[in-house]
């Protein structure tokens, strides 16, 4: 009997520890110390300079709202995967970042709080750039307000231009390809240039803006992939020719770089098409580089560029919705946005703030601001993530010459639509 007792005792003790291990600490949502309301804010990581700027903005908010405490959390990797999983588990932050790309699918699931009832006259919705605001709108309901945006511009190396006897930026894509040829340097003649004329990114996000001026589109009205068209081939042909035949354009990975900014900074490309996040990166890491920016060359005589925007959205399950709105309305309001965009890491989505900060006169940033008026937001229905993956997968093999562009686009469209059908 003693043995039995001992067994029971030991088992009990072990069970106890196991169960203690399982019980989770209750999440500290709702009210915090001293009756302060705690609002959780989640976003992805950024450079230390940007983090500091965000902290400054949040400090300004807390000063104005002494009864609200903002708990800022950075999700370091796989932001959307983590956020979606947390939304399912009811553990997501009250306010979080949402890229325009993911907005349609998340709005459809109903996990975002509609914000129409919170909006006041003072908030001044009219002040936002309309295309950017519409990215987070469905059937006249706002689900988020854009915090900032960036467009794509052409960065070029002034010294390299001088060396090649070129003056000013190329105005059209035809000119761009001529310039690229003059700027490409292949000293040892092995067909692998030491410096590419143009560095570019192969992702759909960086290519789709060429579709519209050619009359092509990414998706049809039903949200299905629709880019296997004559027009889309026309839109993408120039860059494929530059990459394959002329060898005047290269991907960052061809030069051993992580991304275009790095490629440009290290002198592996004389021109790159990048967003305004590249400006502080270049200024910090390559202070000797003499560069400037220009609006993207025209396609078929039309201006075209892409716009990437991110909004603050509210969790539908939040227990502190009023305080969460206070935070959103401050961060996307005139005061908060002015602090947040004051250093030019990202551009303000409010016209009044852009005017106040005078980015239109900034030599490096004016091209980005100019682009905002005709930019196409990076968004195309709720299936875009699937479509994007399939495009990216096939486009690279077309670039490498494993299949023709037509085959690649056809295959990407078919696979994407099959997957979309299976998923619904």
């Amino acid at each position: 009997m003693n043995k039995m007792l001992a067994a029971v005792g030991i088992t009990g003790a072990l069970f106890g520890t196991a169960l203690v291990g399982c019980s989770s600490e209750s999440s500290g949502e709702g009210s915090g110390d001293g009756g302060k309301t705690v609002v959780e804010l989640a976003g992805w990581g950024a450079s230390p300079e940007e983090e500091a700027l965000l902290k400054e903005t949040l400090d300004a908010f807390e000063e104005k709202h002494p009864d609200i405490d903002v708990k800022h959390e950075v999700i370091a990797d796989q932001y959307m995967d983590v956020t979606k999983t947390r939304l399912v588990g009811g553990e997501a932050a009250d306010v979080f970042y949402l890229d325009a790309l993911d907005a349609p699918s998340l709005i459809n699931t109903g996990v975002l709080e509609p914000l129409n009832d919170y909006v006041t006259e003072d908030f001044d919705v009219e002040d936002f750039e309309e295309p950017l605001l519409n990215a987070f709108k469905k059937d006249d309901t706002y689900y988020g307000f854009p915090k900032d945006f960036s467009t794509l511009s052409l960065f070029y190396d002034k010294a390299a231009f001088e060396e090649a006897g070129l003056e000013g930026p190329p105005k059209t894509w035809e000119e761009l390809s001529e310039y690229a040829e003059k700027l490409t340097v292949d000293e040892d003649g092995d067909g692998q240039p030491e410096r590419y004329g143009l560095g570019f990114s192969k992702e759909l996000a960086r290519q789709f803006y060429k579709f519209q001026p050619n009359g092509a589109q990414v998706v049809d009205e039903k949200g299905k992939a629709d880019f296997a068209s004559e027009e889309a081939i026309q839109a993408l042909e120039p860059i494929v020719t530059m990459y394959q035949d002329d060898k005047t354009a290269g991907l960052p990975s061809d030069a051993g770089n992580e991304w275009g900014g790095d490629m440009f900074g290290q002198g592996n490309a004389a021109m790159v098409i990048e967003g305004n996040w590249t400006i502080p990166f270049l200024e910090d890491n390559f202070s000797n580089l003499d560069f400037t920016t220009a609006e993207l060359p025209t396609i078929n005589g039309e201006n075209a560029t892409a716009a990437f925007t991110v909004a603050y959205v509210m969790n539908e399950q939040s227990e502190v919705k009023d305080a969460a709105w206070e935070l959103i309305s401050f961060l996307t309001g005139k005061e908060g946005m002015e602090i947040w965009t004051s250093k030019g890491f990202a551009l303000p989505t409010r016209k009044s703030v852009a005017e106040n900060l005078g980015y239109e006169e900034d030599p490096l940033r004016s091209s980005f601001v100019a682009g905002a008026s005709y930019a196409q937001p990076w968004q195309a229905g709720e299936n875009l993530p699937i479509i994007m993956t399939n495009f990216d997968n096939q486009f690279i093999s077309a670039l490498l010459g494993e299949q023709t562009l037509e085959e690649a686009l056809k295959k990407a469209e078919e696979t994407a639509n099959k997957e979309i059908e299976a998923a619904n």
């Binding site: 999983t85 051993g256 099959k418």
Partner: protein, 322 residues
């Protein structure tokens, strides 16, 4: 006659006992049952942990694989029978993942097994400093695979160590990370290098178990080093080879972390590093399609089981130690 009598006697006693002592059933557990129960009690923490973290998840995954699971915006299950399984047949990415994984298994398992055997044979001979070599060879296995992958990605960079080395030897260089035809092979090389030493240790332990007398007898018969290796060492190691191959196949079928880090979770370039487990991850956490992801996981489990059974047939029913 005597022993028989004794048995009879004891038998009588046993059957008689309950009669003599009718209150015995109060001690309601027989000794053996009691011991068994305390055994189970001792095991219960483990049974509990395995139950919660292994058995229940497996059963739950099976259940999920027959359902269309809606997670975001209100959790909902809808029984859809075998739809998730029939969907795998039409899923091009699933086929690509299966093809990549099979290619990976078919190349990595034989190479790492042979390499492990050769390394073990080398270290089993009486070369100088073999202890130092054992440690050096084993080091890659100790390193975390995530760290290893990141370091290898630096070395695989177009301007990295490996291409520089190849250039130095005037050999062709490759775009190890971004070329769809090469990317999976880069992972293979890395993985063979990292796992072969683990199996080497297992082979080494088994080799040191082989009696010297067998080799001595062979030497007297005039066998040379190579004949001894082929006709003595390898046949005796057959059960170990079975273990090494089975573990290798299971491990390689589950390739995930290396290709995840290599491709940043996408399985690219051009789906060339997409493996089944990576695909399951993408469906489960990127598309939040738990039902289909579970079905794929069940399919993978069945494939591994079948392959293991085939291997068992191939290697015969030998036991590890007879």
């Amino acid at each position: 006659m005597e022993p028989a009598k004794k048995i009879d006697h004891s038998h009588d006693e046993k059957t008689a006992k309950p009669k003599k002592n009718p209150k015995k059933p109060k001690k309601f557990l027989r000794k053996s049952t009691k011991e068994g129960l305390s055994g189970y009690l001792f095991m219960s923490p483990t049974i509990f942990t395995i139950g919660v973290f292994v058995i229940i998840p497996i059963l739950y995954a099976l259940y999920l694989s027959f359902n269309d699971v809606q997670l975001l915006g209100g959790i909902g299950y809808e029984f859809i029978g075998l739809d998730n399984y029939t969907r795998t047949i039409d899923d091009e990415r699933a086929l690509i993942a299966l093809k990549n994984t099979a290619e990976y298994v078919l190349i990595v398992v034989p190479v790492q097994t042979c390499l492990a055997l050769l390394l073990a044979a080398a270290l089993n001979s009486n070369i100088r400093g073999k202890n130092a070599f054992r440690i050096i060879f084993f080091l890659p296995t100790v390193t975390s695979s995530a760290v290893l992958t990141i370091i290898f990605m630096w070395m695989y960079n177009p301007d990295g160590l490996i291409n520089n080395f190849l250039q130095f030897l005037s050999l062709p260089t490759y775009n190890w990370l971004a070329d769809p035809n090469i990317a999976l092979k880069s992972i293979m090389i890395m993985n063979i290098w990292a796992t072969a030493p683990f199996f080497m240790v297992i082979y080494l332990a088994a080799m040191q178990d082989i009696s010297d007398s067998v080799y001595e007898a062979a030497t007297i018969d005039g066998a040379n080093w190579w004949q001894k290796f082929i006709y003595i060492t390898i046949p005796i190691l057959k059960p170990v080879t079975f273990f090494v191959v089975v573990m290798g196949v299971i491990g390689t079928f589950q390739l995930f972390d290396q290709s995840y880090i290599f491709s940043g979770g996408s399985g690219g370039p051009n789906n060339s590093t997409l493996t089944i487990v990576l695909l399951i991850y993408q469906y489960a956490f990127k598309s939040l399609d738990m039902g289909y992801a579970s079905a794929l996981a069940v399919v993978l489990a069945i494939i591994i089981m079948v392959v293991t059974l085939i291997q068992k047939k191939f290697f015969g029913e030998e036991k590890l130690h007879d």
